[in-house]
């Protein structure tokens, strides 16, 4: 019994509930698959990029694209090093995350595409051999069989520059047998040549209304009563991440213990969020070196749990400024931005997080002193 977030994921373009303009564009692409360009889907997490990609695949290839299997492939680098990569495949496409290979992602990418390109699909050339592997499911769609396969690359913004460079030539050369769909969070990390070779599809974060609509849909399907207030509460809490919203909804359902959800039931936060809230409380309660040392331990705990440092910083900041005056808010946010920049530059996170906490402590202390002076 899967989680609602997976259970009610749209499998078809028609089931998408928001970004209708994007949906219509995808539909038109699917109708003329031969001229499908390389695509670059970008947008924040939880907006629906991957969902749309699989819908598109289904629209192009039919149901066969839904039959997924997991492959584990070993690639050999020129330095005789073996790299293992997991790929999700169907008969028509393969999807992989080259970031798994670490610094050898370049070889993985080249190998995969060349391999794909080397083997022409059965559908190529159409006509006599227009037998797709799953003919019995290819019911009504008698469109001309698509002759290329699709390679879906996830997290291309984490690719090394060399891998991205390797991609650009390969993309052009083998485009007759292999089309690429790239997916990333942040377009700025993708090099220009790649961006120019792809059609960019921006999948924006859903608005609060969109989230509410989606939640309501799911609630209807699951036959639970979802009061409006709670819906809006979840939508605001989820930071426009539909996946999170769905998970929150399910948590609320579990917490309520019944199919009737109430307005006033609190929205359950995830474990790491609770942890950060606790940290924020500690810091505001007492400002001293001892507390900073204790805060450092908590920060380490969070970092070990693979919570990204920038997220820690952002969540902590948002929590800390709640009780402050506006001008202090400004100071704290300025400090947070400064240290977030430093974290993003790549150095050891804990130093900067600690410096931020210390800075907050001084700001807050001054505030308290002034208030009680």
């Amino acid at each position: 019994m899967p989680l609602w977030v997976d259970k009610h994921r749209p499998k078809d373009l028609s089931q998408l509930t928001y970004h209708d303009d994007t949906t219509s564009r995808l539909k038109s692409l699917a109708e003329d698959p031969h001229s499908l360009p390389h695509l670059l889907f970008y947008g924040p997490s939880g907006a629906g990029k991957k969902t749309r990609i699989s819908c598109l695949l289904k629209a192009i290839y039919g149901n066969g694209a839904e039959r997924l299997r997991l492959d584990k492939r070993t690639f050999k680098t020129p330095t005789n090093r073996s790299v293992d990569v997991n790929m999700i495949c169907s008969n028509y496409h393969i999807e992989l995350n080259p970031g798994d290979a670490g610094i050898y992602d370049r070889f993985v990418v080249q190998e995969v595409i060349k391999e794909m390109a080397a083997n022409k699909s059965l559908n190529a050339g159409g006509g006599i051999m227009g037998i797709s592997a799953s003919t019995e499911e290819d019911d009504s769609k008698k469109k001309k069989a698509v002759e290329y396969k699709i390679v879906v690359l996830m997290e291309v913004d984490k690719l090394t520059k060399q891998a991205q460079a390797a991609l650009r030539r390969t993309m052009e050369k083998y485009s007759s047998t292999c089309r690429l769909i790239l997916c990333c969070n942040n377009q700025s990390k993708v090099i220009d040549p790649l961006r120019s070779r792809c059609l960019g599809m921006r999948i924006a974060a859903p608005s609060h209304d969109d989230v509410c609509v989606a939640l309501k849909n799911v609630a209807a399907k699951e036959k639970i009563t979802l009061p409006d207030k709670l819906t809006i509460g979840i939508a605001e809490e989820c930071s426009r991440n539909l996946r999170r919203a769905m998970l929150m909804l399910e948590t609320s359902r579990v917490n309520a213990g019944s199919t009737v959800l109430r307005d006033n039931q609190g929205i359950h936060k995830t474990d790491w969020e609770m942890f950060i809230l606790q940290l924020a409380r500690d810091i505001t309660m007492e400002q001293s070196p001892q507390k900073l040392i204790a805060a450092r331990e908590k920060l380490y705990e969070l970092l070990i749990n693979c919570i990204p440092a920038t997220l820690i910083l952002k969540t902590l900041t948002m929590e800390l400024i709640q009780n402050l005056d506006d001008e202090l808010k400004y100071e704290v946010i300025e400090a947070a931005a400064f240290y977030e920049h430093r974290i993003a530059m790549g150095s050891k996170d804990i130093f900067h997080l600690e410096a931020f906490v210390a800075k907050f402590m001084t700001i807050y202390k001054k505030y308290l002193n002034d208030m009680f002076a």
Binding site: R69, Y300, L303
Partner: protein
Amino acid sequence: MDIRNFFGGGGGSAKKAPSSGKKSEKPKPKPAAKKKQEKSAEKVTKPKTEEKEVAKKPIKKKVIDLSDSEDDVDMIETSTTSTKQKDPPRAPTPSKDTKAAKRKEPEATVKKAATPKKKEEKPESEKEEEKPSPAKKRRTTTTTPKKKKEPAPVPPKPTEAIESYPDPSSGIFDGYTFVFTGVLSNLTRDDAIDYVKSYGGRVTTAVSGKTSYLVIGDELEDGRPVEEGSKFKKATELGKVVILKNEGDLYGLAKLLDEKKKALNPKVESSSEQQNGNVAAAPAVANPYAKKTAVANPYAKPSGQVSNPYAKSGAVSNPYAKSGGGVSNPYAKSAAPSNPYASKSSTANPYAAKAQSSQNSCQGGGRADMNDSSALWADKYAPSNTNMILGNKEAVSKLRRWLDTWESTFNKPSTGKKKKTSFNSKNGPFKAALLSGPPGIGKTTTAQLVIEEAGRQVFELNASDARSKKMLENSLGDITGSQVLSFQTKGKKNGSKSQVTKRCIIMDEVDGMSSGDRGGMAEVIKMIKNSMVPIICICNDRQSQKIKSLVPYCLDLKYRRPVKSMIARRAIEVGKAEGMEIEYNAAEAVSESCGNDIRQVLNCLQMWGNKRHSSTNKRADMTYKDFKNRDNLINKDEMLRVTLFDAAKMICEGRRGLSEADEKAQRDSLFKRTDAFFNDYALMGLLVHQNYLKVAVKPYMTAKASGDPQTQYESLVSMCEGTEAMSDFAVAEHGVRSGDQNWGLLPLCSVLTVKGGFHVGGENGGFLPGYPEFSAWLGKNSSRGKHDRLLQELGHHMNYKISADKTELRLGYLPMIRQRLVDLMMPSDGSEPNVEEAIAFMDEYGLDRDDLFENIDEFVMDDAKKFADIDSKSKSAFTREYNKSVHKSQALIEEQGVATRKRKKANDDDEEGDNDADSDEELSPEEIAKMFGSKKKGKKASASKKGKKS
């Protein structure tokens, strides 16, 4: 100058003749004995008796205790007992103490040297001598007084306390031992010690029979009155220790002694002239001159520079009449240098044994020709035989014995039963020996000399050779596996009896076998096991991992640093040989600052000595004062000798102790701290980061206690500035490590670290309670890496069902999944766990048992329940259920397929459903073998798969 002339006694030469005749074999002891006799003779004023005694004494009293450790009291005792004609009791001793006598011979002369200085106290001292002698009669023969305190069992008391006496002549404190206790009124302990040492005094930390003076302050460090201190009490017990109150008395003493010495000076002049004449006159007569020159030395140099060090070291006696080799030159030039340098008193015995060697110039020529002026002194005066090695006698003899008996132990083919080489026993016969110890103390030298002396052929491999497995096999394989037969009979007439040339291999610097010498250490061990020749391994770090594996196969010889007095004496000898006067205290200070590393000490001295006086072209001399005042030019980098943690503490504490200091001291402290960073530039930043906040606690608590919020705020601000500096440091370090690899930023890193330490401590520095902790960042980082991998694996399992990257997985999915499973497996209402549903859920997402029980648990943030803590009943129910069903999850199909196949032995292909049969065929032979070989069914196989995947 002849001491007998000095004393005004006559018939010295007459006395000499018979003794010299007798003492042909034992030149040294006899002259010494004779000298003593002379002195006592004078005192007793019985020339005839003296003569007889003198004549007799040399034979019998061979043992003149001249060891450094002994009081001159013993010496005096000897003389007094001689006057009492106590020959018979002493008769047996000579044989026993011959060696000692020989060794102490130089010291006797040294003692004599000191004697004239205290001439005016003779009457007094004579009385003193009489007194203690009965008590110490026995000791005379066996012990050797180290220092020539013979003149003054009662040190002179200062008559006045004066404010300061900054510049007495050097050597006034010769022969006196000082102990300090309490806090002096106007002088720091270190300065006082320096003062005493600069003028030839000896400073110890405990009151003993040898102490001459106890300098007391007003009170002890902890505030108690100084009379309660143990040193004071002991001194009063001993009685003969003179108490000096504060530096006033000390200066007064200095003045007194200085005046006395100046009064002596004219005499010294004349005596030195005479001595020179004597030297010119009779170079051939080694022994008499040895004595004389030794005696004359202090006076030979009007400046009094030389006297004490020689007296102290006791190495003085060396007759340099035979100035052989390189020695002649320095001595020919300068009449003054007394050149008692032959004896390295620390190794007195060996030198005593080799009479001729002691007559030679300074021993050396180990690695460079003695006449080579451009060679390093460390090479020139390297030991050329095992007796010359400083310290570690036991190790050397052990090594020698081991080497000598090696063949008989291991290569006896004739013995019926093979002697078992017990590799792991402590005392078992070892095929290899391991010399370990700090650098510069003589390990390599020992090995080479021992082998040479044992008449073996040496084959050496050191860190400059490639010593990987292959290379070792090629180069040493045949050596270790065979013995060389030599058919040269060397004069043997009958037949060619083949002789086996004994060989030995030295593996120098084995701990330097880096990754480049791959497999080298293992190969060495293999070689040792199969070798037919002895192998000597040399290393620095006995505790390192590589060496630990080698230790069971080797005779473990630990080398220790020689004591600084040993090094000091040797240094003085070398200095003499090179025409450079070195004060004993200075030599000790040099060796201390170099960390008792002989090589370094000699290099330092060479560097110092290269400064030549422009006019005389003589080498610059080294006095204690000069050494202390040098601008930190010659010592082993102090920062290198500080440990990592001490350096971190130094940086964290910032400007501690600098509140009163002047600018120079402040600047020095800053440089010291920035240098401390480079003690280990990779780790220092992390260490400081770990500990610097603890320093901030104290100022904050003080501020808090004061109750003033403003000060609290300010202490927080300084803490914040510290963290900012560390944040800057992180950025700079990132620039160094990754991306551009801009190592030019390293000094910036150093300064930022110091800045961080400065801020938390404040203007007056901070205090780090306890010992600095090691950095936790490294451990945490690797933990994070591990969790990252686990997350990746979970992601692999779940990937085709969910759409999330690693981050989202952790942030959103995991808590949810965990919650769901917890509710199912460990219901809060205490009901039975819903195992089927849990398994169904797991299958849906492709999670296997490991994921459940181990991996998901890793991501627990709070004190929530862990799956691992599930009670065994539920766990077994779960396991049963899990193993019953077939898990169709794609991700696990390979693992499961293996497991189920093993369990169910076929019939599983159908059940694997719509999954590709490929997955089964993808199993490689190794995997199958592994699977069948594994005890745990699913676990092992999945673990191996897991290993592959991650």
